[in-house]
């Protein structure tokens, strides 16, 4: 694959990507402050009374939606738009569609913001019926999802155009990763599309009298689990196709990198019941099937661990490192973007292991809905994803704004603090979870708190405080970069080449067989179970707004 260097994005594309990133980070900033307040609440300090927030659960709804849905989705839209155009060296198929997508998502987001901030949607990001939110919240979220599907359409058209102009060539890697991500997500979104459009929106508008909570919840998790791979695959795009270059090396294995992305298409979908192991009404057999496929979806992440570490090693050696482990010293540790991503990987390994605990059919009984679960996903989405996106911002924002990164040392400290803070907070959460502390609970006001829980709560609060400082430093670095950074025209975009030029089998460069495989697997793993649920469904639940 030729190095893509030299291609300059069109100015409109740059503005669009910056706009996505700006919205993403503005919401992350609010999300982080609310995380801080949650940690403090658990330690017995109520900060909500000094704000306009009605209570803990309004704050928690905003924290979950802003961090896990808004920050991620908007950053991903910008990053994928960048990776697609830059690696294919051509603008998107339709610029009009690109901007329409952006404004549609933004309009949806404004509705969601309004509902959340005015306490009309304090239903937490899972939106479990029969808790009911204002229709603007559901409609807004649907518009955001429709936006991501339009992005998929635009990327597919761009890709087909590229293929027409480059017959017989294999797809450049970052674009390949973008397509795998969006195709997987497109299939996954069917669940919440049906849930929101046919169940929740008509119900919240008063057009229907009730919904079946279990059917609604099942549709949610059909999308809800692959959603986590929608957060993760863009991270893998950076780890596989960019980070090796930042390390000074090359991508260790191109075929296995492609295989990892493709495996996520069939394996990430038929696993949603692992969020419903403890739901009465779902048959135990289908739960077990989903439990085993969940283990399968661990495979591509194991592939990733090997290939990414080997790629980094190739960088250490190319920079003159020797010995079994001494090459680690030769890595570019003074580059915050590199360092942050390696630190993110270390915690992600722990996140993967705690994920296996959650996914284990029987062991799940111990940790289900306890603090162990946030202990898990703050290592995955809260670190692997959030920290990698911050690291990407450390080169992407300078590239887009044509300014050198301001405060490299501050950025290094920021990365180290996120790592330390998250390690402390997640330790506290996991420990609390194993003692049976429930999640999504204003623990500072709960009557059943045991004295032995308090130490774990303090870990959570201290970790949260360190994280908040780290978050503030991140915003200082970016704002100063945009306002004060030294002007520079030639900020490098890291794009890694494979270690070996080799031809790859056709099925590692085509999506269709994988999509068909995914559809078949989904029909088998979900079809009968959903048919059974719908056939005896009992759409009797009216809405409740107890917040």
């Amino acid at each position: 694959m030729a190095v893509t260097g030299g291609y300059q994005l069109q100015r409109g594309d740059k503005r669009l990507i910056l706009a996505y990133i700006f919205i993403a980070l503005a919401h992350l900033a609010v999300g982080i402050l609310l995380g801080f307040m949650q940690g403090m609440q658990h330690a017995g300090i109520d900060l909500y009374k000094y704000t306009f927030l009605a209570h803990y659960y309004q704050g928690l709804s905003i924290h979950g939606v802003y961090n896990a849905l808004v920050f991620t989705t908007f950053f991903i839209a910008g990053f994928l738009h960048f990776a697609m155009t830059y690696s294919l060296k051509r603008p998107m198929h339709s610029t009009k569609l690109s901007w329409f997508t952006f404004w549609l998502m933004t309009a949806g987001l404004i509705m969601v913001d309004w509902a959340l901030l005015t306490n009309r949607a304090s239903v937490l990001y899972t939106s479990y019926a029969p808790l009911q939110a204002h229709p603007a919240y559901y409609i807004g979220l649907v518009l955001v999802v429709v936006g991501t599907l339009l992005l998929l359409a635009n990327c597919l058209l761009t890709y087909l155009g590229w293929r027409r102009d480059h017959p017989g060539q294999k797809t450049p890697l970052p674009a390949f990763g973008v397509l795998a991500t969006l195709i997987m997500w497109g299939m996954a979104s069917v669940g919440i599309a049906v849930q929101f459009i046919f169940l929740l929106i008509p119900w919240s508008l008063g057009l229907t009298d009730g919904v079946d909570p279990l059917v609604s919840r099942t549709l949610f998790w059909f999308t809800g689990h692959p959603l986590v791979y929608f957060w993760l695959l863009p991270v893998y795009i950076s780890w596989y196709f960019m980070l090796p270059k930042q390390a000074g090396g090359k991508l260790f294995s191109e075929p296995l990198a492609r295989l990892a992305f493709l495996l996520f298409i069939p394996l990430s979908l038929p696993v949603g019941f692992h969020h419903q192991f403890l739901d009465p009404g779902v048959s135990t057999g289908y739960k077990a099937v989903h439990a085993f496929i969940t283990f399968g979806v661990f495979m591509p992440s194991m592939l990733t661990a090997f290939t990414v570490l080997a790629s980094i090693e190739s960088g250490g050696r190319a920079r003159g490192g020797k010995g079994r482990l001494a090459w680690i010293k030769s890595l570019p540790w003074n580059d915050p973007s590199f360092t942050a991503q390696v630190l993110a990987m270390l915690l992600f390994a722990l996140g993967g292991i705690s994920g296996l605990v959650n996914a284990s059919f029987t062991v799940n009984l111990v940790v289900h809905n306890t603090m162990f679960v946030p202990g898990h996903f703050h290592l995955t989405v809260g670190t692997a994803t959030a920290m990698t996106f911050m690291a990407v911002a450390y080169w992407l924002v300078p590239y887009l704004a044509k300014r050198k990164l301001w405060g490299r040392r501050v950025a290094l400290v920021q990365s180290a603090l996120w790592f330390i803070g998250m390690a402390i907070m997640s330790r506290g959460m996991s420990w609390a979870g194993l003692m049976g502390v429930p999640r999504r609970t204003a623990l500072g006001s709960a009557p059943y708190v045991l004295p032995e829980w308090l130490t774990a709560f303090n870990w959570m609060a201290v970790g949260g405080a360190v994280l908040t400082i780290s978050g503030l430093l991140f915003f200082v670095v970016l704002i100063m970069t945009v306002l004060r950074g030294q002007r520079a025209e030639d900020i490098e975009v890291p794009l890694a080449e494979p270690l070996q030029e080799e031809t790859i089998p056709w099925y590692l460069d085509r999506f269709r067989p994988w999509v068909i495989g995914a559809a078949v697997l989904v029909l088998m793993a979900y079809g009968p179970a959903i048919a059974q649920l719908v056939s005896i469904s009992n759409p009797a639940s009216p809405g409740f707004m107890p917040y």
């Binding site: 808790l131 009984l365 006001s445 709960a446």
Partner: protein, 156 residues
């Protein structure tokens, strides 16, 4: 397609590890008497007492040391919220919700499940140790979620 020998080894080891985990889980679900909620459901109430419905709570002694509890979760409490049983009792719980989603976790036991309107949750546990067992709601159910709890007193 070229795959490095170390990477081949790594893939093999990963597959073996996952198979071992899978077997461990299959064995644990079959041998420890752990009960994962299944497709019990009001509409097809197979094997449930006819009065295990969400309208009325009750506690019934089936025989010496054998109890059934029909428990109702609603915002923001459980009914009954205090249960007294002698040590060594085996209790089967039926759980219903009258409003939104709830959850129940009985501290110090293997009982934990979601409580979903329209569904019946069932779990059985033998209380061999005397003492106080707190149970609490572990799914967000609105403003009073964090006060939703109760206790089982096992008399020695």
């Amino acid at each position: 397609m070229h795959i490095h020998p170390y990477e081949r080894l790594w893939i093999r080891l990963s597959v073996i590890m996952l198979i071992v985990f899978g077997i461990a889980i299959a064995l644990s679900s079959l041998t420890f008497g752990i009960e994962i909620p299944g497709a019990t459901r009001r509409a097809v109430a197979t094997g449930l007492p006819v009065d295990a419905t969400p309208e009325q709570s009750w506690i019934r002694e089936l025989g010496p040391g054998r109890y059934e509890v029909n428990m109702i979760a609603r915002m923001w409490g459980f009914d009954p919220n205090e249960i007294r049983i002698p040590k060594g009792s085996t209790v089967t719980f039926y759980l219903h919700s009258q409003d939104v989603l709830h959850g129940i976790k009985i501290r110090g036991t293997t009982v934990s499940m979601m409580v979903i309107p329209g569904q019946v949750g069932r779990a059985t546990y033998t209380f061999d140790e005397p003492g106080e067992y707190i149970f609490l709601c572990h799914e967000y159910c609105g403003l009073g979620h964090h006060v939703m709890s109760g206790k089982i007193i096992v008399e020695g």
